[in-house]
Every structure is written in structure tokens, then in C-alpha cells.
Symmetry: C2
């Protein structure tokens, strides 16, 4: 199924992400040299795979990580933050429970997971990162979790298929890719597996991403590349304006390709471009992963440096904008109104707004527009809004999902 | 219909608003001495009343006003801000078009409205406030508007029924009350008419409120009372986290009762309590005015002064909290997660959460709870959440509506 899907439907599906010329797609479940992975069903979810382990066999592997900025964090985030010193070798992930708000018991479960994986993989506990996703405020069954870790490690293999499925909650499909990247120094491979439910089930809206490469580099280089590309991808999306307690990105570089990436070289630049495309497309998959009819919006804001970010967020998080996007309604009034909420009160709103490249508001004034034509422009699966504010020096973008009756129904009808 | 409704269903319907002991209810369409009002159908809407005029016959009338803090404002807000100097005598309001984003033409329509009303009422243009609600970015038909002003002024009478209906857009019913207030100095009357659609149609979610009293007072006293009571009412509600371009509150004191309210007296205190109850209940009506099944939530947050406001807003504006409220799901995880987004990253989330008076999270840890019992607690039309944060000195509340599939359907299916 996956292979067929890939054949007709390449990874770089969004018009907002271009495949860099030096990048080609490999089988999406592939892993770079040096990595093994597996996912198993440990009974944390009613059905399906729910515990995954990712491991690098190379002792000199370097790592980088990024975590949610929510003050409420799951126990795995606390434990992984303590562990991560640029030398992680493994990650244990589970769906079916986020292990958040369970106090000392939860922390001990996360640590026991880390210790067991370290022992079985013959590394130090501080070389194992952990990540959990699922309900908040329930106990994560420790014995099932540990059994899952044992089974997954026993089954470690050279592809990421079962691992990429074990981290899903209500995602409609796995989100993963494996890319061949031609660097001046030679070819390397970069792969990533992500999860994140869009509209379907923001109750479990944690996003997780695991990135692997066989390029060789310093901890600082991997950290820099990870930081920059996460900022341009997972930091730029809004499903429902909510920040999860468990968002985690782990990146690993095994060095097994023998191709070394030095700072401020063409190698670094090209690898960065590949990671950028990879993570941006995965972030867009998270936004788009709603029911069939979901649309994805992109708001681009240019103008005064201090205004572009709050304005872009205000538009992307507005329920009125999201419902108009859902309805295929080119409602420019809602865009400008939402933007206005982020302006300092009393500032004249001399903004220009383009929808799909067509100027509809100029200097704050609505232009006479052919509304039938405008509505036609917003019927596609991706809709772009560009706002130009007074001032200079700032430019940003946020990708956002629409708001559908299904979102509300699913999130209302769940019971704890 | 209105009278019957009032008989079975008194104005102070919310358990969160108490009728002060010195306040009694009069016919809800009543007006204090000195005021006249009318509403007419001028064709701005497809059907129903759409232009209203409110006037005080007393030359010494004082006024106060509050406006939206959105940087994008309708032309009527600009014109009214320029006019308001504490001596407004009249307000002209319309539904069917917010006169926002129409540049000079819109400003001129607002000014022409003001001038015509002033001429017909024999006051200065700067004594007429204007307020519009409806679509953004369309032209408000000037001739129809002016014809409406003429007809309304010709029909001015001693009750607020037609006026209170002319300001509605998709509100399910008029929002109005008239109260007798027993002050130490003698009895006075306070009335108010408000509009604001809750879940049904936030496309038109402007809130307007017109308050009248026959108490006598200085401009400063009316301004103080208006500011304090607006802060505790219309400033404390969230329908969809969106700020309208046209929110306006006008307050008028005619002095016709002969009862004078001096600063820092028992009279001022009691009048303030009456206005407080009046505006809080009207604000709650705005939140509750959704489809039949809508629930209203109240989040009370206590703790460090700088945290309580952003935390309360984060909870009230969270789609996950709103959908859980809609579904009757006592989902404490979503409340704490939403609160966590407003904490400075890295701050330990040592919070307590009570739902309907029952402690469910203590020191950031979920307590073992009887979830069937908890779910029972959140089946009513009003649900209360109380969060206690670390620190002292701050306490606030926000009232919010739930998020229903109907909200999304209505806001998706509209076309411009």
C-alpha cells in the first residue's frame, strides 16, 4: 500500500515545498546506514502498534533535540531534557498515553523505560531519549511499556515502517520519508518519521519527529541544522492554536556514510536544504491530516519586524478564518479583522491583502472585487493569503488547517 | 411574548450574577425618565428592524463610551471617538453593515448620519454617537441609512423595544433590561440594550451596548462607573477569541430623577453594583446566545498577578476546552494543557484545578477521580472551572461559550 501510494503521490506534495535539485526520494520507510528500528503492539492502545524503538549502532553518533515550550510537560520530556547532551543513541516512543500529569509515578515509568532500553542496547541510560503521546492525566502502564521495549528491541531491523506506525495516534496515515542527498563531499541519506494529528483528533495533537542521517558532523552542526529547520517547519504550523505537553523532535547523525559535513560549507548548506524540505513537508502533512475535505492555509506576513509574528499567528489561529477556509469563502474581512487584533490599539491598519495572488484590500480599504471569481480562487486544497503591513524588516509565514464540523464533533464526543 | 418570557424567566438568570438587594426589575423594554428611543426597518437587512435612535431630552445629559481595541475599526468608531467628550445626547445604531474598511466613503456616511440626527434632534453633531454592526468590507447604503434615521427620529417613544431589536443581527432574542435601583438619595432607573451573537454567527460578532440612567452625576463619575463595569462584564467574555472592529458601549445619565450620585458615596457604590449586575448578565447573554444546547463556561484563576489574565484567556479561547464543554466532557487534561501554554516555558506547573467545586488536579498532578461523577458535574448549562496558580495577588475570570458543530457549519457556509 505504501509503495503504491508513493509511486502516484510523491513526498513533496505541497506547492509550498520544493524538492531541492540535489535531493531524490528513496523508499519512504528506508533508514540511513547505521540505524535500525521497530514497532510493536504492547497493548497501550486498543489496537495497533504502540511502542517503537529507534537505535543507531554507531558509537560516535551525535544527537540534537527540541521540545515543547508548554510549561506543562509530560514525564518523557523532563527525562529526555535531562539526558540529551548531544550523544543520544536511541529513542523509545509510544502512543496510547502521554504520561503527563502523573507525578513521580510517571517520571519513574519514563526512567524505567530509559534504563531498560539502555541495558538491552548496551548504552548508558543518558543515551536514550523517550517520547510519549496520547491522553493526558492517566497512568502509563509500566509493565506493558517495558514489555513493549523488550519486544521492539528484539525486532530491530533496517526499515522504519513499523516504527513509523507505532508512534501514530489518530493520524490517517504514517508520515515519513527517506531522501538521498548529493553533497559535494558525497551522497548521504536523511530520513524522518513524524506523527501529529491535524483536525481529526487534537486531543492527541502531540507532534513527534525522529530524524536520522548517516552524514558525519559535530554535535553543534547537527544542533544548528535541527534548530533552524524546526523553526521553519514544526514551529510554523497551527492546527488549533494549542501547544502540546509532549512535542519532541530528536535528530541523530551516525556518520556511517563517511561524508563529513563541516560548518559553513556547501555540504552544510545542501544538507540543511534537504532537512528543510523534509521537515516542512512533514509539518504540512500534520496540518493537512484531517478528514478528506480539509484545506491548508498559508499566511505570509511582511512588514515591521515586531508585528509580523503576532499578526500571522492571529490570522492562523482565528476560528473565523479557519471556518471561512473550510467553507471555501474568500472572506477577506475576517483576515483583516483577525490581523487587527494583533496591532497595537490605535495603530492605523494600512494593510494590503492578497488572496491567491489577487489584491483584495489596499491600504486598509476593500477593493471592489468579483466575489464569484474570488471564491473560485479558494476552492483548492491549499490557499495562500499574503498580508503586507506598514514598516519593513519582517517576514514570516504560518501554515494552518481549516476548522470543520468534524473537528468539533470528534473533540466533543470523546469522553475521558 | 417578551412580558411572558420575563415573568417565567427573570433577567438575572445566571448563577454567576446576583441581583443586588436594592435592585428590582421593571418591564425590560422600559427607559429611564428623559429618554426616548425607536427602531425602524430601513432595508439594510433583508428583513427586520435595522436602524435605531436613542435620545435624551435633557440638555445636561452626560455620557461615557468604550470602544473596541482592535486596530481595524469601523468608521462609526472613528467618528464616535472624535465626538465623545462626555456630552453625547443621542446614539444612532444600525445592523446590516458594520461600515468597516470602506475608506473615506464610509467615514462620510458615518458623519452624514451624525449630522442629520443632530439637525433633526436640535443638538450639535458632536453630541451624536454612531454605531454599526454587520458585514465588514461592504458599503453601507447612505441614503437608506439616512431615511432610517429620519423615520426613527419621527417615531421616538418612551420604550426601548423597537430600538433593542434594530441593533440585532443574528441574536436569537433581544438583550435588554430596565432596573429600579434604590439609592440612599432616592430611587433611580437604569436600563440597557445590548446585542452580540454568541455561537450562531460570529461573523457579525460585534457587541454593542447602550446604557441609560436618570441618575444625576458628573461626567467623571459616569465614566468611572462605565469603565469599571465594562471591565467586569464585556471585557470578560470570549465567544471565539475574536475582537470585533466595532464593539461599542455608550452610557448616558440624564439626571432627570433629581437623585444626585456623588463620588465615593454609598449612592455611587449602589449604582455601581446595579450597573455591574446589569452589564454582567447582558455579557453572559451574549456568551449564551448560541443554539439551544450551548453551554457557558466560567474560568476563575487565582495566583500570581501577571499570570492570571493570560492563563484565563488561554483556557477560555482554547478550542479543545470549548469542544469538551460542548460535549459535556470533564476533560481536566485540556484545561491544564491550555493553561500551560500561557506559563513562561520551564515554569513548574504546580496548579490546582477544581471543576464545579471538586478538586481534580492538585499541585499539577491528576487525582484519581470518578470520571462518571465528574462528567455528571458538567452536564448543566453553566460549568465552572477554578484554577489556582503559584503566587498571590491576582484573581480574574472569563466567561466563554462552547464550540459546536453548528458554529462551524454556520461560519463555513456563509458566503461573502
Amino acid at each position: 500500500m505504501t509503495a503504491a501510494q508513493t509511486a502516484t503521490d510523491t513526498f513533496f506534495r505541497s506547492r509550498w515545498v520544493e524538492r531541492p535539485a540535489h535531493v531524490s526520494e528513496l523508499e519512504p520507510t528506508g533508514l540511513p546506514t547505521g540505524f535500525r528500528a521497530a514497532g510493536v503492539a504492547a497493548g497501550l492502545k486498543a489496537e495497533g502498534l504502540d511502542v517503537g524503538v529507534l537505535f543507531s549502532d554507531v558509537s560516535g553518533t551525535v544527537s540534537a533535540a527540541r521540545f515543547t515550550s508548554n510549561a506543562l510537560v509530560g514525564a518523557p520530556v523532563t527525562v529526555s531534557r535531562e539526558a540529551e547532551r548531544g550523544r543520544l543513541r536511541a529513542a523509545v516512543a509510544n502512543s496510547g498515553g502521554s504520561n503527563t500529569g502523573d507525578g513521580e509515578r510517571g517520571l519513574e515509568t519514563a526512567r524505567a523505560t530509559q534504563r531498560l532500553a539502555a541495558k538491552l542496547l548496551a548504552v548508558e541510560p543518558e543515551q536514550v531519549g523517550v517520547a510519549s503521546t496520547g491522553l493526558i492525566g492517566t497512568e502509563l502502564p509500566r509493565l506493558q511499556m517495558l514489555d513493549g521495549v523488550r519486544a521492539a528491541i528484539a525486532g530491530l531491523g533496517g526499515d522504519a515502517d513499523s516504527f513509523s506506525r507505532a508512534i501514530l495516534t489518530s493520524d490517517r496515515r504514517p508520515k515519513r520519508a527517506c531522501l538521498r542527498v548529493q553533497l559535494p563531499g558525497g551522497p548521504v541519506t536523511v530520513a524522518a518519521q513524524a506523527k501529529g494529528a491535524g483536525m481529526i483528533s487534537p486531543r492527541f495533537a502531540t507532534m513527534l519527529c525522529f530524524l536520522q542521517t548517516d552524514a558525519a558532523m559535530s554535535v553543534d552542526t547537527l544542533d544548528l541544522l535541527t534548530g533552524v529547520t524546526v523553526k521553519r517547519s514544526f514551529d510554523r504550523v497551527s492546527v488549533d492554536g494549542q501547544l502540546s505537553t509532549s512535542d519532541t523532535v530528536f535528530a541523530f547523525a551516525s556518520g556511517a556514510s563517511g561524508v563529513r559535513v563541516e560548518p559553513e560549507t556547501e555540504d552544510e548548506l545542501r544538507l540543511g536544504e534537504a532537512m528543510d524540505g523534509l521537515l516542512r513537508q512533514l509539518a504540512l502533512e500534520i496540518v493537512a491530516d484531517g478528514e478528506g475535505a480539509a484545506r491548508v492555509g498559508r499566511v505570509v506576513v511582511r512588514g515591521a519586524g515586531e508585528l509580523v509574528e503576532p499578526v500571522a499567528r492571529a490570522v492562523a489561529n482565528s476560528n473565523l478564518v479557519k471556518t471561512a477556509l473550510h467553507g471555501g469563502d474568500a472572506n477577506f474581512g475576517r483576515i483583516v479583522q483577525a490581523a487587527g487584533t494583533a496591532f497595537p490599539p490605535g495603530t492605523p491598519m494600512l494593510v494590503d491583502l492578497e488572496i491567491e495572488g489577487r489584491l483584495v484590500v489596499s491600504g486598509g480599504r476593500a477593493l471592489a472585487a468579483d466575489s464569484a471569481l474570488l471564491d473560485q480562487l479558494v476552492q483548492g486544497r491549499e490557499v495562500e493569503y499574503a498580508l503586507t503591513l506598514p514598516g519593513h524588516g519582517g517576514e514570516t509565514e504560518v501554515f494552518f488547517s481549516d476548522l470543520s464540523p468534524e473537528y468539533v464533533r470528534l473533540n466533543s464526543e470523546y469522553t475521558t
